[in-house]
């Protein structure tokens, strides 16, 4: 089995919400994601895209089925173990950046490394490198309220990559940006994916952006249709 190339393996996974009426947010999904892949998840609103991302990101648990991240069954883990996996193997960028407002761009990028217990000097070096990668080497000491929406989102991308994760997860990460900024963020993602060979899983409504990824997964009503 070529499973060492798979970073995410999902088998027969369902997520059911409901008190009284059951809603299948995800319905018997099978999905394998290869290391280094740049993948887009598309589909209409309410189809289950965010739910799938949250489960891959171990922020949420499936109702049934299995999910392996880097070969490990994350459903069996304790809260603290899941936190550690999120810290070391996963990076998140959401529609809104959620940067800590009282910290500079540099400190925000260093934060996941502080959580991981990385030394300050090393963390600063890596954060500086990442901020240069996203084109913000001259904005490192700025706080989020001194940066534009696109710049904040680029800081969030740098932060998501801080601990050199296996997977970067982005949920409509350009949803709040104008088309110019959002193209710029995508160009950066494309370049970083080529440079660091990490797996990028992006949910987007923007078909033009989705077209530029390696693979498009389409979800409708909780089912993968292509």
């Amino acid at each position: 089995m070529p499973s060492e190339n798979k970073i995410v393996e999902i088998k027969n996974l369902s997520k059911v919400y409901g008190n009284g009426v059951e809603v299948y947010a995800l319905n018997s999904i099978d999905l394998n994601i290869t290391k280094g892949e740049f993948m887009a998840i598309v589909g209409p609103s309410g189809s289950g895209k965010s739910t799938l991302l949250h489960i891959i990101g171990i922020l949420d648990t499936p109702t049934s089925g299995t999910i392996l991240i880097d070969g490990e069954n994350v459903s069996d883990m304790s809260d603290d173990q899941r936190a550690t996996v999120r810290n070391k193997k996963l990076g998140f960028v959401f529609q809104y950046h959620h940067l800590l407002p009282d910290f500079t761009a540099l400190e925000n990028v260093m934060m996941p490394m502080f959580i991981a217990g990385v030394e300050k000097k090393e963390a600063k070096e890596r954060a500086t490198q990442l901020l240069s990668d996203v084109g913000l080497h001259d904005r490192m000491e700025h706080r989020p309220n001194e940066l534009s929406g696109g710049q904040c989102q680029r800081v969030a991308v740098a932060r998501a990559l801080a601990n050199n994760p296996d997977i970067l997860i982005g949920d409509e990460l350009t949803g709040n940006l104008d088309s110019k900024s959002s193209r710029m963020v995508y160009d950066i993602l494309r370049r970083l994916n080529e440079k660091y060979k990490q797996t990028f899983i992006i949910v987007t409504h923007d078909d033009a952006l989705a077209e530029r990824t390696d693979r498009i997964v389409r979800i409708i009503d909780g089912k993968i249709v292509s």
């Binding site: 949250h54 936190a83 810290n87 998140f92 959401f94 809104y96 502080f114 959580i115 300050k120």
Partner: protein, 390 residues
């Protein structure tokens, strides 16, 4: 700050950048601590003043005749026994008799106290308030008396005047006023030998006053005196047990008051922290997504509460010191009689232990007040927190 302790970094930065929110909590703690320290100082100052005024004006132990006896007989023997007890500093003999003091058509019935001036000055410091004459004159001038200014005013007499001491209808003797003591009450002192003679009580006294090295040993030493002499010995504490009961009740009331203040302050802190949890929901969710454990989130809030508590504590101690200083400046006039008045200050006895108590309790209140907000924060579901649209 320790490297890698990111919880500290977040907590401290959060508190410092949210001064508007956190100021309320700091002020609540500071006021609570300030008020409580001042109150503790007032109450212990009041108790100290009360103790002082009791032990200044009465002996630490009053030895009276055994039951069914009007007088202490063979007092020299008892005196030697009492003086031999460890912790007894000095003793004095007193014989009291009732009589009427008269001048022209005025008369005042009062107690005449027979003393040995040297003893009474040594034990009770009765000459402290002497404003004219001398107690020692009683030793060598026959038929002399020292009276209080209150009594002198009532009889309209001055130093050197003669007043009449009368017992019943038929006996009386003229006495010369050789000293005046500043006091509003009716006090009259004659020599012990004179009163024993005149009333026919040779070899008898009514009281032996005992002064101790340590006033708080009074109860034990009183018991020892009773064992050794078979006389009745009453300590000042026992004599004023009503007052001490009242002080104890006052203390309980004060503590209820302190607890109420702390409860109010505690709700203030909890409110500020809960507001912070609501406002920082998304950032807390994001921290969890980045791998912060629930334990770390709890830690952040405890550090914030502790930091706020310490700032409040420092401010509270400053408020207390300033308040105590200002209260110390207030002067109150206390009239002694129509002519004389004493100037007193607010009794204050600030002690280090008060600061420690107030501070220690404040930190405990802080921790308790942060339990609910910290738990609330750590129980947040990261997905809900991040996706929350409010």
């Amino acid at each position: 700050m320790v490297d890698g302790m990111y919880e500290h970094k977040i907590a401290i930065r959060n508190v410092i950048s949210n001064k508007k929110n956190t100021m309320f909590s700091v002020i609540a703690v500071a006021l609570a601590i300030g008020i409580i320290i001042i109150f503790m100082g007032l109450i212990s100052g009041f108790a100290a003043e009360l103790t002082d005024s009791i032990t200044d004006n009465s002996p630490h132990i009053r030895v009276s005749p055994s039951e069914n006896n009007d007088f202490i007989h063979l007092y020299q023997h008892h005196l030697d026994t009492i003086n031999g007890i460890d912790g007894v500093s000095s003793t004095s003999l007193i014989l009291r008799e009732a009589a009427t003091l008269e001048k022209r058509n005025k008369g005042v019935s009062t107690t005449i106290t027979g003393i040995v001036p040297e003893q009474e000055i040594r034990t009770m410091g009765i000459d402290d308030d002497l404003i004219a004459g001398d107690f020692y004159t009683l030793d060598h001038r026959r038929n002399s008396i020292v009276i209080s200014t209150g009594l002198a005013n009532e009889l309209n007499v001055e130093m050197g005047d003669r007043i009449t001491m009368a017992i019943g209808e038929d006996r009386s003797i003229d006495l010369e006023v050789v000293g005046l003591v500043l006091s509003g009450s009716n006090l009259a002192y004659v020599h012990l030998d004179f009163i024993q003679d005149y009333f026919g009580h040779k070899g008898k006294v009514s009281t032996i006053s005992v002064v101790l090295d340590d006033i708080y040993a009074a109860d034990e030493i009183a018991a020892e005196i009773e064992r050794e002499t078979e006389l009745e010995a009453t300590s000042w504490i026992e004599d004023h047990s009503d007052l001490f009961d009242l002080l104890a009740i006052q203390n309980i009331v004060a503590w209820i008051f302190y607890i109420l203040i702390y409860v109010v302050a505690g709700f203030g802190i909890a409110n500020v922290l809960l507001t912070m949890v609501m406002e920082k929901k998304k950032e807390i969710g994001m921290l969890m997504a980045m791998g912060a454990t629930r334990k770390s989130i709890v830690k952040i809030f405890f550090i914030e509460a502790t930091f706020l508590g310490i700032v409040g504590l420092i401010l509270g101690c400053i408020i207390a010191l300033v308040g105590i200083h200002l209260l110390g400046l207030i002067e109150i006039e206390i009239p002694i009689d129509e002519v004389y008045a004493d100037v007193a200050t607010v009794p204050l006895d600030p002690q280090l232990i008060h600061f420690l108590y107030a501070g220690g309790f404040a930190m405990v209140v802080n921790v308790i007040a942060s339990i609910v907000p910290a738990r609330q924060a750590s129980k947040l579901d990261p997905v809900e927190a991040i996706e929350d649209d409010t």
